[in-house]
């Protein structure tokens, strides 16, 4: 009876989630400038919005919005094409894979057309040439007058960026590459690196908004860094349209003006000094993030549970081939990092088999199959731990194997491994944070957005940690209640 209730509960949960799901489907990263005019074609532009003044996040009337000079260029291109603009915010090093897998139409993210990149994607004409500078702590500005003085120093850069290449060219430099610009600044301010290679205007906006930073006199050689728009290789039609817009903008000297405007907009948020008012001010970000984290975790737990149970049953089925499949499944998924699985499912499948999951789907699939491998082992232990006589008694009454498993063995197995299952659920909630890597706007993603927005290194992360903790504590509590309910037969 009781298992039936659980099944019904799960089914209800699944249906609710599916009903809610379409609402989330559009708003993958954030700020799709979506007004639903179906006949109008949308153009998806990928960018990494922590690169002020080119692209960054601002709060406008309490809502977060991606703005910047690149965004203005994107708006011009879209309007020339008569298309609806949709911005897709994701980490910088996910941009090109997303482009190659056809999830976005172009990348406008201050990207320099290097030879390596040209091998994989096509670039438009240049739309801006910026210079590179050395960002350092305010007190160290005089230390680095020439590039030679940086030799052998620890230097911070953003992963996959042109600055990373420049830093690698400095003799004996110890280069640390991290995911976002705000991480680079945090490295610098926490004395982990002594200098960082930055895009000129980006460095200026950091200096303007964050105390303790300065720009050194040293200038990287060949520091002129051109920027161009990337499209999928061979997409000449789109490229021609982009180039004609860029030509028009160049003739109007518009890009310089956009950068000036964007710099003006980027006044930096004056973030409250008290963590509670800080949280209250940015609660919208965290609220949005929690929705995705909860959705991902709930579906990850649900499908992980069901698939895990299935795998455990295959493993115990006694049919050699099924058992073998289950063993391989479990070993492969437990023995490889979840991040690798996520990237293979999201980018690998898209390029190799043309299977294009949305970021949310990729996230849910990865979480589900990864946790199912762990849960399968837990279930197997639980099922094997149920006395053999239980199965025999059920079968002797005439119950078929499946019914005996379902009504007699599995409920007892689950009850005995409930604490271990609870552990795994908690792990799923926490691990769900890796989906921010492909651009799902979950709690971690939003915490990073707030970091970029406020130039604050600590509060956004402490708040995210606190919210994760609250979610896992609530889950533990719920599981305790459930466990007590199931222990009805234990009292003597």
């Amino acid at each position: 009876m009781r298992l039936k209730k659980i099944t019904h509960l799960m089914l209800a949960l699944l249906l609710t989630v599916l009903a809610v799901y379409p609402g989330y489907a559009h708003a993958e990263a954030q700020n799709a400038s979506a007004s639903d005019t179906p006949e109008k074609k949308t153009i998806k532009v990928g960018l990494s919005a922590d690169f002020a003044p080119y692209e960054f996040i601002m709060t406008v009337d309490g809502n977060s919005k991606i703005v910047g000079s690149d965004v203005m260029i994107a708006e011009q291109i879209a309007s020339d094409m008569g298309a609806e603009l949709q911005l897709e915010n994701m980490p910088f090093d996910s941009l090109l894979p997303a482009l190659q897998s056809g999830r976005i139409d172009m990348v406008i993210s201050g990207m320099t057309p290097t030879d390596e990149r040209r091998q994989n994607v096509d670039f438009s004409d240049l739309y801006y040439v910026s210079r590179q500078v050395i960002l350092t702590r305010a007190g160290d500005v005089d230390k680095y007058k020439t590039m030679d003085e940086l030799a052998g120093k620890p230097i911070g850069v953003q992963t996959g960026s042109i600055q990373e290449e420049i830093a690698n060219g400095i003799p004996d430099a110890q280069v640390t590459a991290v995911k976002s610009i705000s991480d680079v600044v945090s490295l610098l301010l926490s004395d982990r690196v002594d200098a960082a290679v930055f895009e000129g205007p980006v460095a200026e906006s950091q200096v303007k908004n964050r105390a303790g930073l300065g720009i050194a006199e040293a200038v990287p050689e060949d520091s002129d860094t051109p920027m161009a728009i990337a499209v999928e290789k061979g997409n000449t039609g789109l490229l021609t349209q982009i180039n004609s817009t860029l030509e028009r903008l160049n003739s109007e000297n518009a890009v310089d003006e956009y950068i000036r405007q964007a710099n003006e907009m980027n006044t930096g948020e004056t973030a409250p000094g008290n963590i509670f008012s800080f949280f209250w001010k940015y609660r919208g970000f965290y609220g949005d993030g929690v929705k995705y984290t909860l959705l991902l975790s709930a579906l990850g737990v649900l499908f992980g549970f069901l698939i895990g149970l299935l795998i455990a049953l295959l493993r115990l089925s006694g049919v050699k081939i099924l058992k073998w499949i289950a063993v391989v499944y479990t070993e492969v998924l437990r023995g490889t990092p979840m991040l690798v699985q996520l990237l293979i499912i999201h980018f690998g499948f898209a390029t190799a088999f043309d299977i294009k999951f949305t970021v949310l789907q990729s996230g849910i699939i990865t979480l589900s199959i990864n946790s199912s491998a762990y849960l399968a082992e837990i279930f197997r232990a639980g099922i094997q731990g149920v006395d053999k006589g239980q199965m025999e008694a059920a079968r002797s009454l005439g119950m078929p194997y499946g019914m005996a498993m379902r009504t007699i063995v599995i409920p007892q197995a689950i009850k005995s491994v409930l604490p271990a299952i609870g552990n795994e659920f908690v792990v799923i909630i926490k691990e769900s944070s890796i989906v921010s890597f492909i651009g799902v706007a979950d709690l971690m993603f939003q915490a990073n957005a707030v970091r970029t927005l406020t130039y604050s290194g600590l509060y956004p992360l402490v708040i995210a940690a606190a919210i994760y903790l609250v979610m896992t504590l609530i889950l533990s509590k719920l599981l305790n209640v459930f466990e007590r309910r199931l222990s009805a037969g234990d009292n003597r």
Partner: protein, 240 residues
């Protein structure tokens, strides 16, 4: 009702049954005795195919149940079984233990199943325990519930696998009384037991097994009173 022809069974290299022939009539109470390791439990478990026979044939109500085409689940509905370790379902109440199979397998209503269970519980003196969980019961009570659970399927034959061996001595009597009453009501029963007094009193026929074969069979008076085979005499001299 049950006909066993040349039944054989091995576990790996260990040969447990070396060709058993037996015939169990409707309404008959057959008690299987013998030293431990003689194969009597395996023989009983082969009858409802909890153990798959390695060779030979078993007919139940004239149907060959060892045949692959036979739906063993349907057959088992008519063969109740009682285990040494009771094997009650610990996560279900006494009433649920009893009514689960009739509701799920015979498709009767819960109300009807409850009524059937209550009548049976009454007959074994445990009507007041219907809402209890197995962990709250004594061994003797558990085994009586296990018998009722099997009876609730209204089986044509009851198989007992050492039903009193796991019980404290003072609880053996209450279980044997239930079985005795069942025998008096005309139930066909096959009982593996070490309770010689009970075997002699209730059994219509005794099978003495040793080394995987039936060494001697006959009425209780014949087997207990004047055993012909040396091994039977030897065994009985040790246990009586």
């Amino acid at each position: 009702m049950i006909t066993v022809k040349n039944l054989q069974k091995s576990f790996g290299k260990n040969v447990v049954l070396r060709g058993i022939d037996a015939n169990i009539q409707k309404g008959e109470v057959v008690v299987v005795i013998g030293p431990s390791g003689s194969g009597k439990s395996t023989f009983l478990r082969c009858l409802n195919r909890l153990e798959e026979a390695g060779g030979g044939e078993i007919l139940f109500e004239n149907k060959p149940i060892t045949d692959k085409k036979n739906n063993i689940d349907k057959t088992r509905e008519k063969m109740g079984m009682v285990f040494q370790q009771f094997n009650l379902f610990p996560h279900k109440t006494v009433l649920e233990n009893i009514t689960l199979a009739p509701i799920k397998l015979q498709g009767i209503s819960k109300a009807e199943a409850d009524k059937r269970a209550e009548v049976l519980l009454q007959s074994v003196g445990l009507a007041d325990k219907k809402s209890a969980y197995p962990a709250q019961l004594s061994g003797g009570q558990k085994q009586r519930i296990a018998i009722v659970r099997a009876l609730a399927m209204q089986p044509h034959v009851m198989l007992f696998d050492e039903p009193t061996s796991a019980l404290d001595p003072e609880m053996v009597g209450e279980v044997l009384d239930v079985m005795k009453k069942l025998a008096e009501d005309g139930m066909t029963m096959v009982i593996v037991t070490h309770e010689m007094g009970f075997a002699r009193e209730v059994g219509d026929r005794i099978l003495f097994m040793d080394g995987g074969v039936i060494v001697e069979e006959g009425t209780p008076d014949e087997v207990f009173g004047a055993p012909k085979n040396g091994r039977t005499q030897d065994f009985l001299s040790k246990v009586l």
